[in-house]
């Protein structure tokens, strides 16, 4: 199955965030609890952690890039070599946990 990671509504009033750091390259396997990415708001860092296992397949932005809330940040899959369909309609939502620090 293919999943997308969307930008969480972590901080009230924030409509856009900036990518601070990815914690893995495409191809990396994530277990529940592993940090995927750190995002930056005007005053806080949002730590996004996997809440299900999966393989990171694609990232939609690099550190310093801006992404809007609810837009896709990355694509994951259950299996490392699963084909990724081009149409995002076929993706499910990746379950994540996030913490604002």
């Amino acid at each position: 199955m293919i999943y997308h990671l969307t930008v969480p509504k972590a901080v009230p009033g924030v409509e856009e965030i900036r990518i601070l750091e990815w914690h893995g390259e495409p191809g990396a396997r994530f277990e529940p609890g592993d940090m995927i990415v750190e995002l930056e708001t005007h005053k806080a860092i949002v730590e996004v952690r996997a809440d299900q296992p999966g393989f990171l397949r694609m990232v939609m932005g690099q550190p310093g890039d801006w992404i809007s809330i609810d837009d896709t940040l990355a694509v994951f899959s259950d299996a490392a070599d699963e084909a990724v369909p081009a149409d995002a309609k076929d993706y499910s939502e990746l379950t994540v946990a996030f913490e604002v620090t």
């Binding site: 901080v11 009033g13 924030v14 856009e16 900036r18 708001t41 005007h42 005053k43 801006w66």
Partner: protein
Amino acid sequence: MSNSPAPKPRKMFFREAIASAVRAAMLEDPTVLVMGQDVGSFGGSYREFDGLYREFGADRVRDMPVAENATIGIGAGAAAAGFRPLVCITYMDFLMLGFDPLINYAAKLRYKTAGALTAPLVVKTTAGAQGQGVAHSQCLDAWLMSVPGIVVAAPSNPQDAFSLMAQALRHDGPVVYIDHKRLFPSPGEVSVDAGLQPFGVAAVRRRGEDVTIISHSYMVQVALKAAARLAEAGISCEVIDLRTLAPLDVDTIEASLRRTGRLVTLEEGQTTCGVGAEVMAQVFSRMGPRPFVRIGALPAPVSSNPVYEALCIPDPERICDAVTALLKNAPPA
């Protein structure tokens, strides 16, 4: 300005626009200092001084105690002695504690010394309601407009946050620079090579034909939301951002009002003796009265209860209702 090609605008947080302007002024002029609570290693209450302590050290980026009166007093004295201090007062409500050194000393120094001394002091403070209750939410902008000798600047977006701060730190002061809690979450494109923003020049943020909405600071964003909704109902609003309350750009307001014929003033502070009252007095004294409505906070303290806070402060719905009523009462000829 340098002859090198202008760098492209860069998207940044509101706080980063402030920090960029302060950093550039500190690099250019060794007399520029930053003073205030948590401005040092913490980087400012809104992180608007991030990196400055590390770069310039404690001599030029000075943490001050919870003593606003003393901080502004020291700032005014340092300014008179040849420095260019930027004093940060976290919430505008606390600015009251420093009114004596700001108003009786800094604002009057040039007058008292026949121009021999100036107080190039910038007092930066954050206004506005965002869940912080009666004594941390006020917009007291209008109180300062009536003090001769003080410039009052109030940016509504990251570009002006940069440009007005850049101008303030080069002005012979004093300048009160008022930002707003709700402006910090939204990033914007900033050209750091855009140059200084002269005081007393308003910006037309949206062109319109039926009504002129005058606002400043965060309420400009609220006015633009209301104008977008009203456009769907066939009402065309011109939205003017004052940028500075003192000096006031009456020319731009007058030119707009001569076309639209209807005036709405919008502020987050109180309407009694407010920014809108002053705008109307000045523009109507030039061109005669026009149908108007002024919108501001309800005459009540901003509550700690979020429901009452929202009720107290103008929102797009209140603006849309007021503009619609104004057009009904003063229909096009």
